[in-house]
Every structure is written in C-alpha cells, then in structure tokens.
C-alpha cells in the first residue's frame, strides 16, 4: 500500500459526513481510486452526567457520540461498503476541550468549544489517527473550500458555496499541514444539494436534522453542565458572586455568579430598569458585571491573541479585512494591525455590538480566510 491511496472519512452520523463517505466510496475498487475508511472519534460519553442537575437523561439523537449517532455512522459505512472504526479520544477531548471550556466559563469568558475541538481533536488528532492506520488524507463534512495557491505557495481556506452553512469561522486554526491533507468535498455544494445526494445514495438519514448545540451539553444548559461536571470532579463550584454595576460605576445590585452571564445578554440580569439593560463587561477578578444600554455594547476595536494565519505567512502591515466575531455575525469591515507579542488589533469601520472575550475573531479577504485569533 503506497501513500496517498487511503482516505479516512470523519463520520459523525450526520447527513454531511455520511454524504461525504457515500461520495468518496462511489467508484471504490477502480485502479486509481483511493481506499476509503470511515472513522468516528468517540469524544464524550453522553451518559456520563445524564440525570444530574437537570441534564436530560437520555440524550436525543443528533448529538455527536451518542450511541444512536455511532449506529447511524456505522450503518452508512456498511451501506456504502467501507471499513469503519470508532476511535476513543475521550480523555484527550476532556483535557483539550471540556476542561478549557469549563475554565473559560469560570473566568467569565464565553468560550467556543467547537474551535478548540477542531484545532486539537478533529484535525490534529484525526490526521494523526488517519496516518497511523495508513491513511494519508482525511475528509470531513465541513462546509469550506481549501485549495493550494502556487503563487503564494500556501494552502488557502475559503468560504463555501453555501454561505448559510459556512463553517470557516470554526476552522481558522487549521495549519498549512492540516489544510494540505484535508478534503472538504461539500465545499462547493449547498445543503439542499447535499441532502439530494444523500437521497440518491439511498441514505436513510438524508432527512436527519442538523445538530446545533454543543455536542457534550445535551439540552444546551452550560450552567447545569458546569455544575454537574465540577461535582463529578469533586471540585467546589467557585463562588463568583459579585456586584452588578452600571456603566458609570454605580452599584445597582448583586448577582450570584459570573458564569450566568455573557456579554450582550439581556435576560436574567435580576434588576429592574425602565430601559432594557445588557451585560457590557464581566470582570473575572472582581466578579463585577457591568450592565448598560444597548448602544453602550458597541465597540470599535478588539484585541485578539493566539493568531493563526492562513492566506498570509504573518501580519506585518495594516490590512483591510472583514472581521467576524461570532458564529452568526455578518463580517464587518475593519483595519487589522499587528500589535505587541504577536497579537493584533482590529478597528472596525462601524462599531460592533457585543465583542465577547473567549470567542474567536476570524478575518476575511473576500472569500478567503486570512486568519484568526481569540478575543480577550
């Protein structure tokens, strides 16, 4: 078996990765056709915290790593005729994704576990696993386009044909090495086209709904999860109660923990006000939560650290980009400038609402991902 002849498909049991498996498996057996192998990373035991602190007992289908999803993935592999394996990465996932997620929340930030997972597990670990079983490349069901630009001698990551499904925001951490060994077969397709292909292949899960929530938090209640997780670990829930203050510094109330808040949040502040109030800032050191009017949420600049550059080798001079600061955010024009310690400052043309520490900022030049980093 020579290199480049085996591709490992990361299969979650959802429509997208199942369709990738079906597309790649078609034509198997031909002389120059690569061998296709299905892999599922077992990341989190969905039964682990079930029933504790209000976490649902039986996770519904559509969360990765549930027994149902592994079953679905296995059935697809059987149907399209590829070998299929489940690889246990639970310890790494807990160490690299769940624990940092909990720590970030306790520090008053609003983390995105999916980006951490993509960086540490989905690509890094999957590629390592793929190589160790003799596959040179991996294929995933992400909506993104990657291609090599010989002029710049770099692998470029681009937004997909279906902008509504664009997942480049979560993929900004991919290295050149990872991009060079990854296939995104859905990048030039729309979701309806993908479902049509799934139906053509007779995949029973063609109509399976998309998963939306964070995979290890069934029900989506972060606070429940963090409470149950810390209890399981035998760690006390840190007391992060503190003052609720107005933008001018006046103390207007108290709250019982900063983990309940995220920048831009309106509901559940526990204070009465004639005009709507929003969380403007969370100070993890003093536990002070600052609230104010909607217009006070808007910020003109952001600082990001731990940058990864894709279309450029590094940022040496100011650059005009469009910056995306959360998953559903419409990228906004900004000027990106290098700052000390490898950090960057982005100055928006128009002030942006709820720039949230812990989220990532991803910078685009047209459809290309320039790079991205973590807002702090």
């Amino acid at each position: 078996m020579t290199e480049n002849t085996t591709i490992a498909v990361a299969m979650s049991g959802g429509v997208d990765s199942s369709t990738v498996a079906a597309m790649l498996a078609r034509g198997q057996g031909g002389d120059s056709h690569p061998t296709i192998v299905g892999l599922t990373l077992q990341l989190w035991d969905q039964t682990r915290l079930a029933g504790k602190h209000g976490i649902p007992d039986a996770p519904k289908a559509g969360r990765c790593c549930s027994i149902d999803d592994v079953y679905d993935a296995r059935r697809v592999a059987e149907q399209v005729g590829i070998p299929y394996y489940v690889v246990n990465q639970e310890e790494r996932f807990e160490h690299d994704v769940v624990r940092p997620f909990v720590n970030e929340y306790l520090a008053g930030r609003t983390p995105i576990p999916c980006s951490l997972c993509n960086d540490h597990i989905k690509f890094d670990q999957l590629l390592k696993t793929a190589r160790s079983i003799g596959a040179e490349r991996i294929a995933t069901g992400h909506y993104a386009v990657n291609e090599y630009d010989p002029q710049r001698q770099r692998w470029i990551l681009k937004r997909p044909a279906d902008l509504a499904k664009d997942q480049t925001y979560f993929l900004f951490g991919l290295t050149q090495e990872q991009l060079a060994h990854t296939l995104f077969p859905l990048g030039r397709l729309t979701k309806p086209e993908v479902r049509a292909i799934a139906r053509e292949h007779g995949l029973r899960l063609a109509e399976k709904p998309d998963s939306q929530e964070i995979c290890f938090i069934p029900g989506g209640d972060y606070k429940q999860f963090i409470t149950a997780y810390l209890e399981e670990q035998g760690e006390p829930m840190p007391d992060t109660a503190g003052e609720l203050v107005a933008a001018n510094g006046d103390v207007i109330g108290r709250h019982d923990g900063i983990t309940k808040f995220t920048v831009g949040q309106r509901k559940g502040l526990g204070v009465a006000s004639p005009t709507p109030l929003y969380v403007l800032n969370i100070d993890p050191a003093s536990h002070r939560v600052t609230v104010g009017a909607d217009e006070q949420l808007a910020t003109r600049t952001l600082r990001a650290r731990r940058l990864n550059w894709i279309s450029i080798a590094e940022l040496t001079a100011p650059m005009r980009v469009r910056a995306k600061i959360r998953h559903r955010h419409e990228p906004a024009w900004a000027t990106l400038e290098p700052a000390a310690d490898g950090e960057v400052i982005a100055t928006f043309d128009e002030p942006q609402r709820a720039v949230t520490p812990g989220q990532s900022a991803v910078f685009y030049d047209g459809h290309e991902v320039v790079g991205g980093g973590w807002i702090y």
Binding site: V70, P83, T129
Partner: protein, 385 residues
C-alpha cells in the same frame, strides 16, 4: 488472529447441524416421532458433553452460551446477605453480574491477581481466595483461562479450598474449554460454563455443568426443559453443533493439535518480541496454547488494531465500550499495567486451524506496522509498563 473473540464452524460441525434446520425440525419436547428424532440428537450431544465434562448426563444443561452460564451461577445461587468471591480479571459477564447482586445486598470481594514486583503475571493466588472467605461466603467464581492473556488459573487448588469450606465453586471455562485437559471432578467445581462458538461451534449455544444437588435457581422459567433448569425450546441444531465441536475439541487435545498451535504461537510471539520495546503480558504464568498478549511501548493500541485490520491481520485490544471504541483492558489494569501500557497491548489468539502461513503473514505485517506508528508519533519513552 482473534480466535478468542470467536471461531468459524469446522465443516464437520456444519454437516452435523445441517439436517436439524429443515428436515429434522422437530421440537425435542414433542411426543411424536419428529420430536423424538430431535430429542435423540439433543441426548447424544448431552452424552458427548458429559464425557467431556466427566460428569453424569443429568448434570449437563444446555443454554445460550457463556454469559448465560455465568449469570445463572451468580443470580441462581446468591441471595441478600450472602458473600461472593470472584476476581478482578474475570469476563464482564461475571463482573457485571457481581455488581448487580452487590446492589441487591450480596457482599462481593474481587480478588486481584498476585503481584510479584510492579506487574502481575495475572495468576490468582489460591491463598488470597482463602483469606477472602467468610462464614457467609456462598460462592466462588474463577475463570479457567483468561480471555485476554490466556493465563490459566489454578482452579484445582481453588476447588479444594472451596470444598474444604463447603462453598460452591463456579468456573467460567469459556476460554479454557477445549484448549486444556478438562475434568469437572478434578477441578472440584459445582458449576461450570462454556460456549460453543469459541471452539469452532455455532454462536448462541453453550452448556453448563451443574453438579447434582446444587440448589441453583434457574434464570429462565417456563416449560420443563433441561430438567427445569433452563426453560425454552431446545436449540436443537445449535446443541448438535456444540456436541460435534466438543467431540472435535476432545480429539484435538490428544492428537498433537494443541502442541502444533503452541509452536505456532511461540513462533509468532518470538517474532514480535524481536521488535524492540515489546513484552508479553502474563509471561511466566501457564497459558492456553493459542493466546499471547503483547504490549508495544510507544504505540496507540487502538490505531495498531485498525492498521493491522486494514492489512488483513485481525487482533483485539482492550474491550469494546458501548459505542464500539475500546477502553483500556480491565484485566491488564488489574495486573498493574497503567492505562497507556494497557492501551498499548494487543491480544493475538490463533484458531485451531491456524497455519505457518498465517504466522508468516502476521510477522510480515506486525513489526512493520509498529515501526510505522512509532515513526509517526514518537510518544515519550517509558509509557508502557
């Protein structure tokens, strides 16, 4: 090379079973001729099993296999207030059943394998069993051969200790049956469980030895099949297959087959041990002829299992968890290996039909795959115990 997971039917077994699917489809409990034909087939198999166990025919109970036998012994004898002794290297069919009775008021002691130094050879010290005994101890359950390492437990000594104390003794013989000389009287057990599919018989059928007078409550109740020890219409074809498989296994114990398999296993083991940073788990203990469990330092066992499978060598590592991924083996952890060393260990187990060519193929593939893995991901040295 995963015979401890399961084995194919031998052609003779297939042929023996064949008439009982269609032509001779009778229910062994029916009065009429069709039923009598089926009854005859079941009784012949019972005779074979009685010869194999060295017991009375009335002491043979057919069932669905090893898990049912293990569960029947534990659920059928233990009541709240009783004390139960088993070991931490048992199959999960025993361990999970032990946990279940523990939830229902049975005290359970899990005896760990002896330690000589940091890591154990996997043997249970009979004296540890004796030390664990209490006045309330009603049952001891120990496996004959370990499924992961092949280590053979000193069941005869344990049987003597149990007999002296008047304690019931069950042997999980799923992995040992057909691989070592067999005699329930010599073992001194009251109960013994075995399965057909580990010895080139069909899946879903097994047998239990139940010594006369043992107050074993049946797990399944209904009709009066198997002398009311196990209700449910007899799996006639399966039982015939089990009988044939046992007959062939008895022959293989005497015609040099075991020695031939041991030689193949030894050659495979020696060839793999020539790769640096490898070691045998359970080395030094008596083992079944077909099994070796090898740890590969600086290797992810799960990846090695997949890589070998894609090159036509089927082995296993750890035990499958609910999703089908693997967890580090509880057997190896009980022997003192840490998680990464347990993860880096694979079981190679040869079929009775294994050939020199199989071993050659294994020795072509395994060392190369290990080197490939190590070259890719240099794990910090010394992770394997």
């Amino acid at each position: 090379m995963d015979a401890n997971a399961t084995t194919p039917l031998l052609p003779e077994v297939m042929e023996a079973m064949r008439p009982y699917w269609m032509e001779q489809f009778g229910n062994a409990s029916s009065i009429h001729q069709q039923g009598q034909t089926a009854r005859t087939a079941v009784d012949r198999a019972r005779e074979t099993l009685a010869e194999f166990f060295n017991c009375r025919e009335a002491e043979v109970v057919f069932n669905s296999g090893g898990t049912e036998g293990d569960n029947t012994a534990i659920f059928g004898l233990l009541r709240p207030g009783d004390h139960f002794i088993t070991t931490s290297v048992e199959h999960s069919a025993v361990l999970r059943a032990a946990e279940r009775v523990a939830e229902r008021g049975v005290e359970v002691t899990f005896v760990a394998p002896r330690r000589n130094g940091l890591v154990s050879d996997g043997l249970i010290d009979p004296e540890e069993i004796r030390r664990a005994m209490r006045p309330q101890t009603r049952l001891i359950s120990v496996m004959l051969a370990n499924n992961e390492t092949g280590v053979l437990q000193p069941v005869e000594e344990i049987g003597r200790i149990a007999a002296a104390a008047g304690i019931f003794f069950h042997i999980d013989a799923v992995q040992g049956a057909g691989k070592v000389p067999f005699d329930v009287r010599r073992f001194g057990c009251h109960l013994l469980s075995m399965s057909a599919h580990k010895i080139h018989g069909p899946k879903g059928v097994g047998a239990m030895y139940v010594r006369r007078g043992t107050p074993l409550e049946p797990l399944l109740v209904g009709g009066s099949h198997e002398r009311r020890q196990r209700a449910g219409t007899e799996n006639v074809a399966g039982i015939v297959g089990l009988g044939k498989a046992v007959e062939l296994a008895m022959t293989s114990l005497e015609d040099g087959t075991v020695e031939r398999i041991a030689a193949l296993r030894n050659r495979l083991e020696a060839g793999i041990l020539a790769v640096p940073g490898t070691g045998v788990n359970g080395a030094g203990a008596p083992r079944t002829a077909n099994t070796t469990n090898i740890r590969f330092e600086q290797v992810e066992g799960e990846a090695l299992v997949i890589a070998l499978d894609l090159k036509g060598v089927a082995v296993s590592g750890g035990s499958a968890c609910h999703s089908g991924s693997t967890e580090p083996s509880h057997v190896l952890m009980a022997m003192g290996l840490d998680k990464s060393a347990a993860r880096a260990s694979l079981r190679f187990s040869l079929l009775r039909t294994a050939t020199d060519a199989d071993v050659d193929h294994g020795l072509r593939v395994v060392p190369a795959a290990v080197e490939h893995l190590r070259a890719l991901s240099p794990v910090v040295a010394g992770t394997a115990g």
